[in-house]
């Protein structure tokens, strides 16, 4: 028991949030690139996965990220009305709303998941969104309600 506690405490101490950001190829990934071009720094624990459109993000990707140790997952897409595929982000919006609502219903902290619209011209917004998301997750602490202990061991 005490060993377990110790590991937990140790885990807590050296914990840094892990954040997965799904970015659509046409807007948000471009926004992230622009943040880079403009040297707008944001925390390094944000790791971006490029998807063609926010509507490509399957709820199971998000759950998988949490299982594998992510502390927060954010989905970024084009602003409503600007989707490269015209309607993808509308689908993403509903799907993510429903998924997040279910996660919250199961008691997972609702701030662990987010959808944000970031255009390819919004490098500054990308940075601001990531800063604030990392801050939220840091405040929440490690993801314990959707963790898979097997993936946490080191």
């Amino acid at each position: 028991m005490s060993v377990m506690e110790k590991t937990a405490a140790a885990r807590q101490a050296e914990w840094k949030p892990k954040i997965i950001a799904f970015c659509c190829n046409w807007c948000s990934y471009g926004g992230a690139d622009l943040a880079g071009t403009n040297r707008l720094s944001y925390p390094a624990n944000v790791k971006i996965i490029r998807v063609p459109c926010s509507c490509r993000v399957n709820p199971m990707f998000i759950l998988r990220a949490f299982q594998k140790g992510a502390d927060g997952v954010i989905v970024c897409g084009c602003h409503p009305g600007d989707c490269h595929y015209s309607t993808g982000n509308y689908h993403a919006r509903r799907r993510m709303t429903m998924l997040f609502s279910m996660l919250s219903f199961l008691g997972v902290e609702s701030a662990r998941t987010r959808v944000e619209w970031v255009s390819a011209a919004e490098g500054a917004r990308f940075k601001a969104v990531m800063d604030s998301f990392v801050e939220d997750i840091t405040r929440l602490g490690p993801n314990e309600r959707l963790e898979d202990l097997r993936c946490k061991e080191n």
Partner: protein, 667 residues
């Protein structure tokens, strides 16, 4: 067995200053699947590309991961490079360690650590990459233009001039559209029909253009390059091949009381008619709603007088099925019904007219021969009030619920009407009530100023509250406000002209449904990209020309028509279309035919078929399964998520690939 090569770019100091590129290359060596890794100053340079190519050949690499700048920058470069030595370009992945790493992190340790993570994710994805080849479909070298107005004609002419066959489908008996009804054009005051009728003739005589006038599109099947369209040729009751357009039938037709829509119903025509003298094709048409022979069985005069035996009362609608490679929507506009604006008394007084009616009253080919008179008593008007923005710029929740957009051309044509009126009848008093005068355009503001300064047209910032026909005076009592002088005005007008809002033609919405082309709430076709692809629909192979995409004047329409034509020519000049290989595909064994994917596909790329399957227990079974048309699919992936069984997956971004990235990044 995958043999992956990892190539880490320094990008000069862009990457190397914040990321220890040697450490990244070294870390790659212990990643399962990686057999070779190295770093280099500029991977995108020719020397860098050669390094990649040589290594692929030397080490027999099956997959390549380049850790460099954003894939939006050089993915295509590197893919081309590996393709040049025979590797499938989709076996290459790019890890973005510049824009998303070295440029946003300052600490080298942090940067290196993240770069390694990004490299591992790219390797994890590359591991699962399979060769992708884009499919191709042949292109039918024929275009369909729906609408024979100036937009449709110009598009058709430009396509036809490039050597491709074009068909125009026009619902009216003649092409020419609204422009043929206009008197003059702003701001140059050219005679509208003088410039449009030669175009009509050119279209009519062009060897590559076929006009299906008095026809409608009733069904559209297929996809880009391979559309099959059903065209309904409405019965004219006149044999097109025989009619010479001599007009004898029209002269003798006893049914004289048919409102003449060509003249905005300001006068009457016969039951058999040619809309106007320059109509193309110049063929008579029997109006089945009014023809005595068709309705009562008695008459038949036209048949008797026709020298070529062209009249056929038994004619039926005919349906043609034609294949096209591209379709252009050029359905144009119409004016909204202004009768609901009862404060303007449009329904109560013939002297309240819409701008298009005024246009006909001014036209030499119009009902009055170009003599401007009041429809009520035929007297020349002395005081005319023009009311702007009738039905435009209104919110949906307002009492009349007009159009939220600005119709764009009203300010200019009102100035034109005012100038022309003053030109012909200098002693007329003209009041224009405006909210804003919008004149962005070449020589537009100058034109408007001319109306004010040279012609002394009274432009009043304000609005008309009420128009009351005065039975005693026979005039129209106009109550209005001048907001600048803060006065309420009472004007005794002879005529009131309403600048009614223009709306997309009523045929546009059903057409959009047939084309599976997206539309906005105002029934304008939505362009594929508001800035960069303004003449294309999001649905591949559908192009937009003229007002159907948004309000525009003639020169804008003509430019867009040409632009749409250029896009069509670009498409038709290809023998086949090479698609994007990153498209969805359905595993037929897992699909259960629920149709959810079909519901979310924005391109109509998914269809269902009943297919016979040989089941594992050796029975055969008919199953309903989804099938994706790779020529139409654009690869958004909406269907993959909606599919509960996971039968639908997206090539290049498969579920497994994305999850492999997730796994690698979460470590």
């Amino acid at each position: 067995m995958q043999k992956i090569g990892v190539f880490v770019c320094w990008c000069g100091t862009n990457i190397a200053s914040t990321v220890d590129v040697k450490a990244v290359a070294e870390a790659a060596k212990s990643v399962p699947g990686v057999v070779f890794s190295t770093d280099y100053q500029y991977m995108c340079s020719e020397a860098g590309q050669n390094l990649i190519k040589d290594s692929v050949l030397t080490y027999g690499l099956t997959h390549v991961v380049v850790c460099s700048c954003s894939p939006r920058m050089h993915e295509a470069t590197f893919r081309k490079a590996v393709a040049s030595i025979g590797m499938n370009p989709y076996m290459l992945e790019v890890a973005n360690i510049r824009e998303q790493c070295s440029w946003v992190h300052k600490d080298k340790e942090v940067g290196t650590e993240k770069a390694i993570a990004l490299m591992k994710a790219a390797v994890a994805k590359a591991m699962l990459n399979t060769p992708l080849t884009a499919g191709s479909t042949p292109v039918t070298k024929r275009a369909l233009v729906i609408g024979g107005g100036i937009a449709g004609m110009q598009t058709a002419l430009d396509i036809a001039d490039a050597g491709f066959q074009v068909d125009i489908v026009e619902t009216k008996p003649t092409i020419g559209g609204k422009m043929a009804q206009l008197d003059k054009t702003f701001p140059t005051l050219d005679c509208s029909s003088c410039i449009v009728t030669p175009k009509m003739v050119e279209v009519g005589q062009h060897p590559n253009i076929t006009i299906y006038a008095y026809s409608e599109v009733t069904e559209v099947k297929g996809f880009v390059g391979q559309f099959t369209v059903t065209i309904k040729r409405k019965a004219r009751y006149v044999d097109e091949s025989k009619c010479t357009g001599c007009g004898a039938c029209i002269e003798k037709c006893p049914m004289k009381k048919v409102p003449d829509e060509w003249n905005m119903n300001l006068n009457n025509r016969k039951a058999i008619y040619i809309p106007f003298a320059q109509a193309v094709p110049k063929i008579a048409t029997i109006d089945p709603a009014y023809c005595l022979k068709l309705n009562t069985g008695k008459c038949g005069v036209c048949s008797k007088v026709c020298g070529t035996n062209a009249i056929n009362y038994e004619a039926k609608d005919e349906y043609l099925e034609v294949g096209y490679g591209a379709i252009v929507a050029a359905t144009g506009y119409e004016m909204i019904d202004v009768s609901k604006y009862d404060e303007y008394a449009y329904s109560n007084s013939p002297d309240v007219v819409t701008a298009l009616e005024y246009e006909r009253l001014m036209s030499a080919a119009g009902p009055t021969g170009g003599h401007l008179v009041r429809p009520s008593d035929g007297k020349e008007p002395k005081t005319i009030v023009f009311i702007q923005c009738v039905g435009s710029r209104e919110t949906e929740d307002s009492c009349h619920g007009g159009k939220p957009y600005c119709s764009k051309v009203c300010c200019m044509y009102t100035a034109k009407h005012a100038i022309l009126t003053k030109d012909h009848y200098p002693d007329t008093d003209i009041y224009v009530f405006y909210i804003d005068v919008r004149t962005p355009g070449k020589l537009f503001d100058e034109f408007y100023r001319r109306a004010v300064e040279q012609y002394n047209v009274h432009y009043i910032k304000g609005a008309v509250g009420k128009v009351t026909p005065n039975a005693e005076t026979g005039k129209l009592d106009v109550q209005a406000a001048d907001l600048l002088l803060m006065e309420q005005l009472q004007i005794e007008a002879d005529m009131v002209v309403l600048a009614a809002a223009l709306e997309p033609h009523r045929s546009a919405r059903p057409l959009a449904t047939m084309l599976t082309a997206p539309m906005d709430t105002n029934d304008f076709f939505t362009e594929a990209h508001a800035k960069l692809r303004p003449v294309e629909s999001a649905t591949a192979g559908i192009y937009l020309s003229g007002f159907c995409q948004g309000p525009k004047d003639i020169p804008e329409t003509v430019s867009q028509a040409g632009a749409a034509a250029a896009k069509v020519i670009g498409l038709l000049s290809k023998n086949e279309l090479v698609g994007n290989p990153c498209v969805a595909h359905s595993d037929e064994w897992m699909c259960n035919g629920c149709s959810q994917c079909e519901n979310v596909c924005p391109y109509g790329a998914i269809t269902y078929e009943e297919k016979e399957f040989r089941m594992p227990d050796r029975t055969t079974k008919i199953r309903r399964v989804a099938s994706v048309n790779p020529a139409v699919c654009q690869g958004c992936g909406a269907c993959t998520v909606t599919c509960p069984s996971g039968a639908m997956d997206l090539r290049g971004f498969t579920n497994q690939e994305i999850m492999a990235e997730v796994d690698a990044l979460c470590l």
